[in-house]
Amino acid sequence: MDELLLSKIRLGVIAELLNVDWAAFSDLQQATQTTNGNLGAHLGKLVESGYVAEEKTFVNRRPQTRYRLSKMGRSAFVQHVRQMQRLLEKEGAS
């Protein structure tokens, strides 16, 4: 399994990004219900690993950081979910 996605918050962030072009930090914070610092640390790891791209823009003259899922992140997410499903299938079979 993907060690980076073993964290529920990081997995949730990737799932939130799956169906949007870009998501603002505030939107992700609202979706994941975490603190600024905690989410920032998780997003930092995802950006560092290349799973998520970060962009700093201005919206109505105010700075905004937004995030987008990369191809690598999408592929890692799909693999990870598949492996979790396999784990559950194995458990169901035993």
Binding site: L11, A15, E16, N19, A24, L87, L88
Partner: protein, 192 residues
């Protein structure tokens, strides 16, 4: 290396399912597209029917290219506005717009290049079919109103087939009720 317990995996998969079903269910695309194109299509067919019935002069048909240009201009401008939103378009929205433009584009292309095959009311019926495809696509994402409106559009097509003298009126009413009506309801409900 960290491992995962089945209970934890189940919990994570349930969370992913919740997030995905929430984001996929919301197809916010703007009912105004349906309103504008439904009214345009209904006007084209109604005008043709009135010209055929000699209720209005043939020169009235010149109004149609003007209306078409207006509908296209509206769609391009509104589409750009939607694309510029801070969160952009979701995958499902992009998929919807692809279905919308392909269906409408194919209908328009057919009307222009195959006018000898799709004559008289057949050329209007093509728009009805394209509208039904778009509405049923939306319905497939859990929108019951789109399903009802899609059925209205298809029923108008079948009814027009058995009322050749009034086919224009029937097809026009179908587009107005089913397509433009769906747009109007969506704008009022603000869920599309």
């Amino acid at each position: 290396m960290e491992t995962m317990q089945p209970a934890e995996a189940r919990d994570h998969i349930e969370m992913v399912d919740r997030i995905l079903s929430r984001s996929e269910r919301s197809l916010h695309v703007g009912g105004e597209f349906f309103l504008v194109w439904g009214m345009f299509s209904a006007t084209v067919t109604l005008t043709a029917q009135l010209v055929v019935g000699r209720a209005i002069p043939t020169s009235s048909l010149w109004l149609l290219p003007v209306l078409l240009a207006g509908a296209i201009a509206f769609s391009v401008i509104r589409g750009k506005q939607l694309g510029k939103r801070k969160d952009g378009l979701s995958l499902i929205q992009r998929e919807f717009f692809a279905v919308l433009w392909i269906s409408m584009g194919a209908a328009m292309f057919t009307d222009v290049v195959a006018y000898q095959i799709f004559t008289t009311w057949a050329s209007s019926a093509i728009w009805t079919v394209a509208a039904a495809v778009v509405l049923f696509f939306i319905a497939s994402h859990g929108n019951r109103r789109a399903l009802v409106c899609g059925i209205i559009v298809l029923v108008s097509l079948a009814a027009a087939n058995f009322m050749p003298h009034y086919a224009g009126y029937v097809l026009s009413a179908g587009m107005l009720l089913g397509y433009a009506g769906f747009g109007l309801i969506s704008i009022i409900a603000r869920d599309c």
